[in-house]
Symmetry: C2
Subunit: 138 residues, 2 copies
């Protein structure tokens, strides 16, 4: 898992400006295990940055995705979820309650998946749809 300074270094090295908004977004994402949407981030950041905008959030998040620090998940067809954990894992979406969870993939398995594809694979995503134990009961 990356830390804030590491990402800021990289941004500087690539010639991007270190604005307070970018810092705030990176701090907000650092170490998270959940998968916030743009709206969620916006609401959280608004407390400290009342004027922050969706434009800034989307642009920063795209920047982080390009640098490999997060993935923009399209598992939910309504909105994007941001996943700041770079090591490969699968995602489970409960079709009952909409809960989104991480599922571990052993590295060996991940390697096999990568080798499936003759082309140069940059990113692999595994999405599993189903019912979580609670929704399965009801």
């Amino acid at each position: 898992m990356w830390n804030v300074d590491e990402v800021l270094e990289k941004l500087k090295a690539k010639g991007y400006k270190l604005t307070s908004q970018r810092r705030a977004i990176i701090e907000r994402l650092c170490g998270r295990k959940d998968h916030p949407t743009a709206e969620q981030l916006y609401n959280e950041l608004k407390k400290d940055y009342p004027t922050i905008s969706f434009a800034t959030i989307y642009s920063t998040v795209q920047l982080l995705a390009e640098l490999g620090y997060l993935q923009i998940l399209t598992i939910d067809d309504k909105k994007s979820h941001f996943d700041p954990t770079p090591d490969m894992h699968a995602h489970f979406l409960c079709q009952g309650c909409g809960k989104l969870e991480d599922i571990e993939i052993i590295p060996e398995e991940a390697e096999k998946l990568k080798s499936l594809c003759a082309h140069k694979a940059r990113i692999i995503e595994v999405f599993i749809y189903g019912l979580c134990p609670e929704c399965d009961k009801g």
Copy 2:
């Protein structure tokens, strides 16, 4: 791979009406190896059904997804692609040219993926993003 009659039977059995539009959409999807978008289907169907609407296409496609005859792919964050092939396989999206390809997964591998998840898995999707050989060259 399913055939048209099989799907029509199932619809009838479930109490859905067999309209000419549904028939046309199912016929149009049967045996396809590509992954058309709603717009693509719309343009193709317009030739025989000049009054067909997106509402009908979307609703029929959702119905087919519920019955397990196709998957609605969210690999492309702009629009949905419909995949009428029910056997499990991965999808590759070229980030250069946007080309969408099937990647085979051996059944054994698919089973392993399913067992990753403690919950009841209905659908598994594997999306691989990268560059196709042509785009990788340039």
